[in-house]
């Protein structure tokens, strides 16, 4: 706790999530630590199953029923994991807002988008007219044409891009200090992806809101993130400033990711899949979870789990051979 940087808005310390699947339990998140600074964008990246969405949901305690958590989620000097349910509800939406992955599923099909966006201001006791004016302003801010028309539309009457803009407007409605965006562009087509991403990046700049961006898409991260947290099998593999992490990875997994994404490192137009299958957090390999797929694997990697260590100020890697990883 003493080494917490004073600027950190959110500081996650040794976060653990244990899920039960039938008779077996799995530590799906194993001692996750990272921080999000005010006004910056932190990217949470990894393959599916790496625990990035689970991490995001654990911050606001929206995990599936039966999940057990340990560790600390420091939110402005306050541990949310130890906070009362009432306090957590105060934080949700009004201090930390979430933009969910698939807006068609994440929006209530039987309520107009205006009602859903205006829910927080309405519950805060604003008058009908004030709520409507605020929603119209929000719709305009997220670039929805003709807000007067759209405010009374139902989610299914909008396009995918507009639905995601509605989600963003909903997240902005509580004037949060941190927005968690969980794969905000995955459900969208490529051109819409770019526009929604530009909107999210622009909002962060204009509003000064911090952003925690969860994505499996390294190109998205390369464009938007200031800091990167690379996750593998429920653990942090590497973290640091985004440009530095992408340009000179300190973990073989990050290097493999970067080398396999066309526009970031190589000239090939198609992403090559990473060799081997992603590790299952319920059945994690001993030692370093990445060792079965790692080209640099040594005997030590098979037995000893590497701890996340600071290589240089701001650069962390959980690899025994971090110093030997070349781009």
């Amino acid at each position: 706790m003493t080494d917490r940087p004073p600027t950190a808005l959110l500081d996650v310390e040794d976060l653990e999530v244990v899920l039960a699947a039938g008779a077996t339990t799995g530590t799906v998140l194993d001692r996750i630590s990272f921080s999000v600074d005010a006004g910056r964008t932190t990217g949470l990246i990894g393959e599916s199953g790496s625990g990035k969405t689970m991490t995001a949901m654990a911050l606001v305690q929206l995990l599936p029923a039966g999940a057990r958590t340990a560790g600390h989620v420091w939110w402005r000097e306050e541990d949310l994991l130890g906070a009362r349910a009432r306090r957590v509800r105060q934080v949700r939406g009004r201090e930390i807002a979430v933009i969910f992955q698939d807006p068609l599923q994440a929006l209530n099909p039987t309520q107009t988008v205006g009602r859903q966006i205006g829910e927080i201001p309405r519950r805060d006791g604003l008058s009908r007219d004030a709520v409507r004016a605020k929603v119209l302003e929000l719709l305009d801010r997220v670039g929805i044409p003709d807000p007067e028309q759209r405010i009374d539309a139902y989610p299914h009457e909008l396009s995918g891009g507009q639905r995601q803009r509605v989600m963003i407007a909903m997240a902005l409605a509580g004037e949060p200090r941190l927005i968690i965006a969980d794969e905000p562009t995955t459900a969208l087509d490529v051109t819409t992806q770019a526009r929604v991403l530009a909107l999210i990046a622009g909002l962060r700049e204009r509003e000064g809101t911090a952003l925690l961006l969860v994505s499996h898409d390294l190109r998205v991260m390369a464009n938007v993130a200031d800091d990167l947290v690379v996750m593998y099998a429920g653990r942090v593999a590497e973290r640091g400033p985004a440009r530095a992490v992408l340009d000179s990875p300190r973990h073989p997994y990050t290097r493999a990711l970067a080398n396999n994404v066309p526009s970031v490192r190589t000239r090939s137009a198609i992403a090559r899949p990473l060799p081997g299958a992603p590790a299952n957090p319920f059945d994690r390999p001993a030692g370093c979870a990445f060792h079965p797929r790692c080209p640099l694997v040594t005997d030590r990697c098979r037995t000893e789990t590497p701890r996340l260590r600071e290589l240089e100020p701001g650069r962390f890697s959980a690899c025994h051979l971090a110093e030997e990883v070349t781009p």
Partner: protein, 309 residues
């Protein structure tokens, strides 16, 4: 919305025609015609022929059918020979009592069923859920006439809290209405429980929680309305069987409604009365289903969209 109602009305008319025809066929398939029953076993052949001629029963079946359809269209079901009055008058005279009984039972069932279903469905697998689900299953399995008889034994004969038979006062209504409501309550509770439990797993419920809503606000603001759609559909369909259940319950409690009258009319081969009552019940069921569709279209904008296509 208008198109939705129009289309459902058209389907409803076809259904009524089907019911009317089915009644015509079934009643003539039953052994013994109206004349035999009316005149008794001692009647001479001449008397039977004369009465059959008077009732039009000596006509070819097709002619009888067309005559009958024409009568139905003008709501003229002929005279009930038992009551000596137009069948429609007799039926409408009995109708309010049945409406009172079924509406009371339906209200009890919907209120209790919704509350129990929501309590159970909000936390699937909890103690409340298991208790409600088990009791509901049990209540649905018990035959209502037995419950009715037990109620009469306990509340009417032993405790003397309510009258055992007849109609007219509020006290008379309690036992038959509760008896009729029990299986329906169990049904509503089970459907509601399933719908609420399913809605709770939806992604938009997590979104609602992410806005800092309390569980009660999530339930009332986002879960309930979405869960009501299957409930309304089932309730709309099952209100018809409630009327069917009323036939039995009315007989048990000697409730002066349509049901007990219908049972007598069938025994007496009082064609006119049976036809009038059946058509009226069919119309009620169809109107209730239509109402359920309209309510659902109000609840779910996507159904409205579908109807516009």
């Amino acid at each position: 919305m208008t198109r939705l109602v129009g289309r459902r009305l058209l389907i409803g008319l076809v259904t009524i025609w089907g019911v009317v025809s089915a009644v015509f066929v079934v009643i003539r398939l039953a052994p013994g015609d109206q004349a035999t029953v009316a005149l008794g076993p001692d009647a001479t052949q001449e008397q039977l022929t004369a009465l059959r001629h008077a009732l039009g029963l000596d006509q070819p079946v097709l002619v009888q059918y067309l005559d009958y359809l024409g009568d139905v269209l003008t709501l003229d079901f002929g005279e009930s020979y038992r009551y000596g009055r137009p069948a429609m008058d007799v039926v409408f005279g009995r109708f309010p009592a049945t409406v009172t009984l079924t509406v009371t039972a339906a209200l009890i069932a919907i209120c209790c069923g919704l509350v129990l279903g929501v309590l159970a469905g909000r936390r699937p697998g909890s103690l409340v859920d298991r208790a409600v689900s088990t009791v509901a299953l049990g209540l649905q399995a018990i035959p209502p006439f037995w419950v009715g008889i037990m109620f009469i034994l306990v509340f009417a004969l032993q405790l003397r809290l309510f009258p055992s038979a007849g109609g007219g006062t509020l006290g008379h209504l309690v036992l038959p209405a509760v008896t009729l409501a029990i299986p329906f309550t169990a049904l509503v509770a089970r459907i509601t429980r399933g719908a609420v439990a399913e809605t709770m797993t939806e992604s938009f419920v997590r979104t609602a929680r992410s806005k800092g809503l309390t569980e009660t606000q999530v339930l009332g603001g986002h879960v309930l309305k979405n869960s009501l759609i299957p409930v309304v559909t089932v309730v709309g369909l099952q209100l018809g069987t409630l009327v069917g259940g009323a036939v039995v319950i009315e007989t048990v409690f000697a409730w002066p409604g349509l049901g007990s009258m219908l049972v007598n009319a069938v025994e007496n081969r009082d064609f006119a009365l049976v036809q009038a009552a059946t058509v009226l019940i069919a119309v009620c069921v169809i109107v209730l289903n239509l109402a359920a569709d309209v309510v659902n279209a109000r609840l779910d904008p996507r159904i409205r969209l579908e109807a516009r296509r």
